[in-house]
């Protein structure tokens, strides 16, 4: 085997899986997301059980700002649309359009994190003391920060991941299938926020 052929062999995709014939990485991401969904599922179920068992749980919409989080929900939904548009662009070989939309996705993620930082600061310094609630003593506050914090870490991870993908595709090292896998992660983050928005803020 010549050196070039050996390099080709190493760089080649391992044997395709029957579930996702186009790339094994996609199956890997789905398995990771299933595991991650179990973590979120446990947190959300735990939250529900604690809330149901408590006698004096505050009405969330009286304490948490719905307007800002409605905007954050809108932002994640729009960024999911940008993500599918960027994938669609790279599948058609349109790199400029791909970069524009993935850039918007990253910007959307950063704006979301900025809103969350503002929301947390506002809650911790003003709203919670007003209602005589505290982060360390009340289940309402604790479950809120654990759930939104765990999700916020996922958004942070998504922003870093998408930035790496943007960089690697721009250099020609990654292609459409890698963007699709990153997209799965980003849509999952959006999907979980849809559930958190309903269960933690609206219900």
């Amino acid at each position: 085997m010549s050196e070039a052929a050996a390099v080709m062999h190493i760089g080649a995709e391992p044997q395709e899986t029957p579930l996702t014939p186009e790339s094994s990485g996609k199956l890997g991401m789905w398995l990771f997301l299933a595991g991650d969904a179990m973590s979120f599922g446990c947190l959300i179920v735990g939250y529900g059980i604690l809330r149901h068992a408590s006698k004096d749980w505050p009405v969330p919409s009286h304490i948490l700002g719905i307007n800002l989080t409605a905007f954050m929900t809108f932002l994640l939904i729009v960024s999911s649309v940008w993500m599918v548009l960027s994938l669609s662009a790279i599948q058609k070989g349109d790199k400029a359009r791909f970069k524009k939309f993935l850039g918007l996705v990253i910007l959307g993620g950063l704006t979301f994190l900025g809103c969350q930082a503002y929301e947390w600061t506002h809650l911790i310094t003003e709203v919670l003391p007003e209602h005589h609630l505290s982060f360390s003593k009340d289940l309402f506050a604790t479950t809120f920060f654990v759930l939104t914090g765990f999700h916020g870490m996922h958004v942070t991870g998504g922003v870093i991941y998408n930035s790496c993908i943007l960089n690697a595709v721009s250099r020609g090292r990654y292609e459409a299938k890698h963007v699709e896998i990153a997209g799965l992660y980003w849509h999952f983050v959006d999907l979980v926020w849809i559930l958190i928005f309903t269960f933690v803020y609206l219900l």
Partner: protein, 92 residues
């Protein structure tokens, strides 16, 4: 490698559905109806939105069925967890 294994879904239609459902969700909490109706409506709309994202944005509709079963497995865990914890929230 197949680049375009399926026809591209209408992403903008999915976006409008998600937006309308989000607006309806926020509207529902201000409607003066019994609490249980609000809960049922909100949960139904949240699950619809999550399903739309999974089916169309994550392309689950166009994948093999076994992958969908893998994706649904966490819900089985959640149901078990609820069932196992339920005795705990009723006073003995």
């Amino acid at each position: 490698m197949s680049e375009m294994p399926h026809q591209e879904p209408n992403y903008m239609a999915v976006f409008w559905w998600l937006l309308v459902l989000t607006i309806l969700e926020i509207a529902v909490i201000y409607v003066p109806i019994v609490r249980i109706a609000v809960v049922i409506l909100l949960v139904a709309m949240a699950i619809s939105k999550a399903t739309l994202v999974a089916l169309y944005f994550m392309h689950l509709k166009f994948e093999k069925r076994t992958l969908a079963i893998i994706a649904l497995s966490p819900f089985v865990l959640c149901v078990f967890l609820i069932l196992m914890l339920t005795p705990d929230i009723f006073p003995r």
